[in-house]
């Protein structure tokens, strides 16, 4: 039978693919790199009497004559094209790979705080508009030329002229860039901007002027000359990237001599190759069940760190009955977030703080805590007059049930499971959630049409989440609950409350750290009380590697182990 034969064949094919997936990924053995060069001295940062100066990088251990070269294979999932600032594909790991080859003026340290790097010090004028950066004088391009202030000026102007969203937006407003000498850059902004040290200073790579100045079409540039700790020595499209250590790197020669990054598209294959030792690390995060599995392997280590990405239950605060604070509170009280973490994340996560901030955030007020209390939830609903009079297990008022559709992305099995557990939990207090899985674009079209909260919304309740950066900067809390769509551009649930608006307006203009902290705490208390959303959990980041191959990885808060510092052990910016 034609149709059924075709599908039997398809099933067999899928089976075969699964088997092949367990087989070897095709990575050719690496050639031995040249013997490590003589120990390079770490740059001596000249001391200057300013607030922000670079501490002296400690000397990397001098390689002995007998030291075996460290070759490392770290798998990625997709091709990142020719690695230049205009062609790399993904923010992660593409940008991180770019940063092996290029350098930034500042660097995010292990706590994700910007610290001096190529710029050994920086000064900000009292009005916050003028940045004066002093560059190190010993930073060389891979071709031996010296990196100077002219390269910095050229790069920022190039980004301004040739659009690449990530790098262009932060430099667009720069009024002027002056280079009084080879190691000084003076950047003038139209207004104070506390984000400027993150982007572009710790984000946009510096490009060599002598390579790029005659390039009109940045996408066609294949010359990957940078100043970073690695040189890109070979790139085979859809196959692998090969990086060699830059022996003359200003912060010391990286501890890995050759880094091979094979492209393996299937995560299952990546982890089975890791088990067999064909690769020694991967940029891919471990899911909880694998973290559990790999934790017990003797020759591997799972490095775990806090994740700031959130998973939450979002109410449409403009639609009955979710517009009632007590109903939202009752839902929050009915959900045991610790149980969610234990079940869905197998314990690899932190239960949600109802006030939004991760408990490890410096701004978090420990007094704000989640509460799981079924009896209290029931009392709240009783108080509103919701009673189950027809004994169907669902409370109603004037014949109208408390019920709603709970939307969830169909491509996110973890969230679907969480949604199912939540539906079961609220059933206990007489609320009915009908879990409906929607394809990503369809769900976004209902919850956040055109990614513009001013365009309204059409849903009851939805599983939702924000990425880590929203969590890192507490000022962004105003965006989550402010009713003016221009300010509350992340207020996807359409929550409205004059008190929240007032607090948000204040928070947005406050620069004094102490005052900011107080406002953030007030905001946290307000969110926990009003529950425009129920914060369910923050999943941990888990990364696995083989310890015998290389074990000096640095977990950068919110960013994981694939960063420049992981290859420069002992260097603390």
């Amino acid at each position: 039978m034609f149709a059924s034969h075709r599908f039997i064949a398809l099933t067999v094919l899928i089976g075969l693919l699964a088997l092949v997936a367990c087989a070897t990924p095709t990575v050719e053995p690496t050639k031995a790199p040249p013997p490590p060069a003589a120990a390079t001295s770490a740059p001596a940062a000249t001391t200057a009497p300013v607030a922000t100066k670079a501490p002296e990088p400690t000397k990397p251990p001098a390689p002995t004559a007998t030291a075996r070269p460290v070759n490392l294979r770290m798998a990625i999932l997709v091709d990142e094209s020719t690695l230049n600032p205009y062609t790399y594909v993904l923010g992660y790991p593409g940008w991180n790979m770019l940063n092996l080859v290029y350098d930034t003026l500042l660097i995010l340290d292990a706590d994700s705080v910007p610290k001096p790097w190529v710029a050994k010090e920086y000064k900000i004028s009292p009005d916050g508009k003028v940045y004066t950066l002093t560059l190190r004088d010993n930073v060389k391009w891979h071709d031996g030329k010296t990196l100077t202030s002219a390269d910095v000026k050229f790069s920022f102007e190039y980004y301004k002229k040739n659009a690449r969203g990530r790098f262009t937006t932060p430099v667009r407003d720069i009024v002027s860039i002056d280079t009084p000498n080879d190691t000084t850059v003076v950047i003038t902004l139209p207004a104070a901007n506390p984000s400027f040290i993150f982007e572009p200073l710790a984000d946009a790579p510096i490009m060599p002027k002598h390579v790029w100045e005659n390039e009109a079409d940045p996408k066609k540039v294949t010359n990957a000359t940078g100043s970073g700790p690695f040189k890109l020595t070979e790139y085979k499209s859809e196959q692998f990237y090969r990086f060699a250590a830059n022996a003359t790197y200003f912060a010391g020669k990286p501890a890995v001599d050759e880094l091979l990054m094979p492209i393996i598209k299937d995560p299952t294959t990546i982890f089975s190759s890791l088990k067999t030792g064909e690769i020694q690390a991967t940029i891919r995060e471990l899911s909880p069940e694998l973290a559990k599995e790999f934790s017990s392997a003797a020759d591997m280590k799972v490095q775990r760190g806090p994740g700031f990405a959130t998973t939450m239950l979002l109410f449409n605060a403009g639609r009955a009955p979710w517009d009632q604070k007590e109903v939202r509170q009752a839902v929050g009280l009915a959900i045991d977030t610790q149980k969610l973490v234990d079940t869905v994340l197998l314990g690899f996560g932190t239960p949600g703080n109802p006030g939004w901030l991760h408990p490890q955030s410096a701004f978090h007020d420990p007094a704000v805590k989640a509460e799981f209390n079924i009896a209290k939830a029931k009392t709240l609903l009783d108080g509103l007059g919701y009673k189950d009079t027809n004994n169907d297990g669902i409370r109603e008022i004037a014949g109208k049930n408390i019920e709603g559709t709970l939307l969830v992305y169909s491509n996110n099995p973890q969230r679907i499971r969480a949604a199912e557990l939540i539906a079961a939990a609220v059933k206990e207090i007489g609320i009915s959630f009908r879990v409906t899985a929607l394809e990503v674009n369809s769900l976004d079209a209902k919850v956040w049409p055109d990614f513009d909260v001013a365009k309204g919304r059409d849903f009851d309740v939805s599983m939702w989440g924000w990425s880590a950066p929203v969590q890192v900067n507490p000022v962004r809390m105003a965006q989550l609950i402010h009713s003016d769509p221009r300010i509350g551009n992340s207020n996807v649930g359409g929550y409205k409350n004059p008190a929240a608006d007032k607090l948000g307006d204040e928070l947005r203009v406050t620069t004094d750290p102490e005052k900011q902290k107080t406002l953030v705490r007030q905001m946290e208390a307000l969110i926990a009380q009003e529950m425009p959303f129920v914060l369910l959990y923050y999943a941990d980041g888990n990364y696995v590697y083989r310890t015998a191959a290389y074990d000096k990885w640095v977990y950068q808060k919110g960013q994981g182990i694939f960063n420049k510092l992981s290859f420069l052990p002992g260097v603390k910016p």
């Binding site: 149709a3 079940t343 899985a437």
Partner: protein, 310 residues
């Protein structure tokens, strides 16, 4: 008559046996399953134990109970989708076979188009536009597999429409609708039954494939969905595939095989063309009246040739 034909086909009997087992499982799920599969009854990712014979899934639900309840969803999808497919397929087959002019041409080209539609890209699109729920899945599968039955039925109609009793009915002034329903439809019903069983088998397999790829309804506990979660939660890496992937795989195989074997057996017994091949051996002995191999097998049609009820 169907039963007599089946009795002589051991593979068909095996198919029937498998199907009865599935049906019992689906209907009696409440009594057979040890747990409610939607309730958390153990720790997540538990290996098989006395309490959970096939272990637990990623949120601590009993996999054995999921499997047993899964028979309901899979059979429901299979049977409903096949019903849709056969309703469309039979109608198109009848019309295309009877009206051989431009209308028939257009219909058959439509059939050709449907036959070559690639499922997966279409499902991705439909999932986006219609939403991923059980009923959409059934409708889509039904709308995609009617072409084959339509072709088989049309070829039978082509031969039926040339019979004397049909010509006679037409000569006697019977309207097309009357001829189609009273004289031709009964001649293809048995064939449609075999096609129905085969379509059910395809539907179950398609549903399993789509659900495994995450294009089904992930909130329904079908066998394909169990596989979807097993894959999504890395059962292939952790060794859990032994109790999380193989059992649903076997269930899908068993039900598809059951329907397919029964379908082939029925087709062989009821499709006059296939029967013609068999006729040289056993069939002639039991039905000596059949001289022309392509004569309709259904006795009801023979009665109709009398024109008595025109």
């Amino acid at each position: 008559m169907i039963w007599t034909a089946l009795k002589r086909n051991p593979l068909g009997l095996i198919g029937l046996g498998l199907l009865i087992a599935m049906l019992v499982m689906a209907i009696g799920a409440n009594w057979i399953a040890p747990y409610d599969p939607t309730k958390q009854t153990g720790k997540p990712f538990d290996p098989p134990s006395a309490a959970h014979w096939l272990g637990t899934n990623d949120i601590g639900q009993d996999i054995l109970s999921e499997l047993i309840y899964g028979a309901r969803i899979s059979l429901l999808i299979g049977i409903l989708a096949a019903s849709i497919a056969l309703s469309i397929g039979t109608s198109v087959g009848l019309l295309a076979g009877y009206y051989r002019g431009a209308a028939g041409m257009v219909l058959m080209r439509l059939v050709d188009v449907v036959l070559v539609i690639p499922f997966v890209p279409l499902m991705v699109l439909l999932a986006a536009y219609l939403g991923q729920n059980l009923w959409n899945l059934i409708a889509v599968i039904g709308l995609l597999i009617w072409a084959r039955p339509a072709r088989v039925i049309r070829s039978q109609v082509l031969s039926l429409a040339e019979r004397e009793y049909v010509t006679a009915a037409r000569a006697a002034g019977a309207r097309d609708g009357h001829i189609l329903i009273r004289h031709i439809l009964p001649g293809v019903l048995s064939l449609a039954l075999a096609q129905f069983v085969l379509a059910t088998s395809s539907s179950i397999l398609i549903e399993a494939s789509l659900s495994f790829l995450g294009l089904g309804d992930p909130t329904q506990k079908s066998w394909g969905t169990i596989l979807f979660y097993a894959q999504a939660r890395n059962a292939f890496l952790s060794g859990a595939w032994v109790w999380w992937v193989i059992p649903p795989g076997l269930m899908i195989t068993a039900s598809v095989l059951g329907f397919a074997l029964l379908g082939f057996a029925l087709e062989e017994a009821l499709n006059p063309r296939l029967k013609a091949r068999a006729a040289t051996t056993t069939w002639r002995a039991t039905a000596p009246k059949t001289v022309i191999p392509i004569q309709p097998a259904n006795s009801k049609q023979d009665k109709d040739t009398s024109l008595a009820n025109v």
